[in-house]
């Protein structure tokens, strides 16, 4: 096993709330184990927004699912994985926790917003019932109090006439409205950590901006940490404090958001950055990273990005790249910087 990237820098002197260590999630398929997440390390701190970036199938969503124990058959969080939740004075390893322990944390201390607001709400219950349910299972309060709080939450997420919307069914509302409902539900018990799995992908651009602003505002008001899973670098630039770039189940680069955008190191990150459409380069063709992500069942021996990398060397094909550390906790897993590091030492 090679070294793996671990973000150790504390962006602010805040308390650590989540420590993910050697997280491996395999899907047992007929062809063999599909290594959706293969050795993921990162920490999260209070009031921090961590963005996890990468293309489809790189393991971002599975990472998020595994934190809440929502990985289902044939997926398995492999033994040796550690997801230590330390928020609220607790100390629970979510990879090993019992159903009851996890159910107590879900929706209460760690909550999640999903990609498709239209299908993520139950069609046969009113949105009010669905939010109230979340409050009622975690807190011992009366129906009236829960209802009052639900209406207040709906107002907080920018829904006008919240008392009417309370009795609406999801199909009566737009995607943007439903996503606000999802956010209200996720925030209903003032979670320590909010996991947002591509929360704006299904929404149009104006609504996207509103939802992101809303999340940022709530983070500042409630001190919630946000794990934002996205493939949209524009979104990352707007809201993230810290970024993990994932490729084929591994974090290939980690840095604070400014460093990452100014000075990306890993060829994959550089590729991602140059693939962003920009008005400044009008007229030229959009850059793309040639090739596709390797099949997670048959991962190569060497660097997973080698076959798509412009700088591929012989050793890239033979062994896993080392983790090279730059300043302020910025790290990348790549042979390109190996020598520079050795010279520096």
């Amino acid at each position: 096993m090679s070294e793996e990237i671990k973000n150790t820098a504390e962006p602010k002197a805040n308390n650590k709330i989540l420590e993910v260590d050697n997280l491996r999630v395999y899907f047992h398929t007929k062809k063999g184990d599909s290594k959706a997440v293969d050795g993921n390390h990162f920490d999260m701190y209070e009031n921090q927004t961590l963005a996890i970036v990468g293309e489809s199938g790189c393991g971002k969503s599975v990472t998020a699912m595994s934190i809440l124990g929502l990985v289902s058959e044939p997926g398995e969080i492999m033994p040796g994985s550690k997801i230590l939740y330390t928020g609220n004075g607790k100390n629970v390893d979510l990879a090993k926790a019992s159903d009851a322990e996890i159910q107590d944390i879900r929706g209460n201390e760690i909550s999640m917003i999903f990609q498709e607001p239209m299908t993520s709400l139950n069609p046969v219950f009113t949105v009010g019932e669905q939010i109230m349910e979340n409050i009622r299972i975690h807190e011992d309060i009366s129906d009236e109090e829960a209802k009052a709080r639900t209406i207040k939450l709906l107002g907080q997420v920018g829904i006008s006439r919240p008392d009417e919307v309370f009795n609406n069914y999801p199909f009566q509302m737009s995607g943007g409205m439903n996503q606000r409902v999802m956010i209200a539900m996720a925030l209903s018990c003032s979670p320590k950590l909010l996991i947002a799995d591509e929360p704006t992908t299904a929404l149009d651009v104006t609504i996207q901006a509103q939802i992101l602003m809303l999340m940022n505002q709530l983070k500042n008001e409630l001190g919630t940490s946000i794990m934002l899973i996205t493939h949209d670098l524009g979104v990352v630039a707007q809201v993230a404090d810290w970024v993990n770039v994932m490729y084929a189940g591994k974090v290939v680069e980690t840095a604070d958001v400014q460093t990452l955008f100014k000075n990306p190191k890993h060829p994959y990150t550089i590729g991602l950055m140059s693939s962003m459409p920009s008005l400044a380069t009008e007229g030229s063709r959009l850059n793309v990273i040639e090739g596709t992500v390797p099949n997670p069942v048959y991962l190569p021996k060497g660097c997973y990005f080698a076959d798509r990398c412009k700088h591929c060397m012989q050793k890239c094909l033979e062994s896993q790249p080392p983790v090279v550390e730059f300043e302020n906790g910025h790290k990348a897993a790549c042979f390109l910087y190996e020598e520079a590091e050795q010279k520096g030492e």
Partner: protein
């Protein structure tokens, strides 16, 4: 809602009229001589008497005229007289329909009691041995014909082991000489119900458990079930509240269609077990060219079918908020 129901009932009148025409036409074109049926089996009647009977019962008129007369009588509530049972048809249906109903209702309830939890378990443990076992079991229930399973039960449980009565609804001795108490009568009927109910329930269970399973499998993979889990709900709540309420939607439609069949009878099964229900009466009527009785039974079934469709549409709107019925 009321407006919708009234509207649906009004629009079904033309449908019903066409059905009565088809029924009347089919019944009249059955082979055999209707006059003989009126005169009674084995009667050696002269041509003169036959002609008199033909005139008396209006059988000499052209078919359209006969139809209009029959329809007119039927609409005023006079369903004619059964030639085989020598009783007014209305009375026959009114008494036999309840025999059919208790049999079918018992079978449906038993089937549902098993089909719902088993179907849900199958969906939750999809692909497991348990799931496959019940799949095979219910495929048997769907594909084995009722008369065959009925005969197998009669042969083994009824004749070989002689555990329980194999036909009829009451014990002949007891029925003729009187029951000592109402409880004895109920017990006797229940005992006679066991075999036919088992056969009926098996088939119904098979259909419903397949429906529950497939509909649950579909629902369990939906995004909102993941949301429900992410809220921290117990798995039981996720399955029985969030998933089942959605899976119920197609089930209610099926159930709505089933309710009327509780009254219309299982013809073959009632014949196999000599159960005095509507289905048995219908078959006997057909065999003996009892046209008044057959027409009435068929029209009765048609009405039930239309009501069943209406019922399932109404129920559908009750369980699915996305469906609104209005005028």
């Amino acid at each position: 809602m009321l407006k919708y129901i009234v509207k649906r009932l009004l629009t079904s009148i033309p449908v019903l009229l066409i059905i009565t025409m088809v029924i009347f036409g089919v019944v009249k074109s059955m082979p055999g001589d209707e006059v003989s049926a009126y005169l009674g089996p084995g009667t050696r009647a002269t041509a003169v008497i036959r002609q008199q009977a033909r005139v008396k019962y209006g059988l000499d008129k052209p078919l359209p005229e006969q139809y209009v007369r029959w329809l007119g009588r039927t609409l005023t509530g006079n369903l004619g007289t059964s030639t085989t049972l020598r009783k007014p048809v209305g009375e026959v249906i009114g008494s036999y329909v309840w025999n059919t109903f208790i049999l079918n209702a018992a079978a449906l309830i038993i089937a549902l009691i098993f089909a719902i939890p088993i179907g849900i378990r199958q969906a939750v443990k999809k692909g497991s041995f348990e799931d496959n076992f019940w799949t095979v079991f219910s495929l048997l229930g769907i594909s084995v014909p009722t008369f065959f399973f009925g005969l197998v039960l009669i042969f083994f449980v009824g004749l070989r082991i002689d555990w329980m009565p194999i036909s009829g609804m009451r014990d002949t001795m007891l029925a003729n000489f009187g029951y000592s108490s109402i409880w004895q009568e109920i017990g006797d009927i229940l005992l006679h119900m066991i075999l036919p109910t088992t056969v009926l329930a098996f088939g119904t269970f098979a259909t419903f458990s397949r429906y529950v399973r497939n509909s649950m499998v579909e629902v369990i993979n939906q995004d909102y079930i993941r949301t429900a889990r992410a809220k921290g709900l117990k798995e039981k709540t996720v399955i029985y509240r969030h998933a089942f309420k959605n899976a119920l939607i197609p089930l209610v439609t099926l159930l709505g269609m089933y309710i009327p069949s509780l009254f219309s009878g299982a013809t073959i099964l009632e014949t196999v077990f000599v159960w005095p229900g509507i289905g048995k009466v219908l078959i006997d009527g057909i065999n003996q060219r009892d046209s008044a009785l057959v027409c009435a039974c068929l029209v009765f079934s048609a009405i039930l079918m239309i009501l069943g469709n209406l019922l399932s549409d109404v129920c559908y709107s009750l369980v699915d908020p996305r469906v609104k019925v209005d005028g």
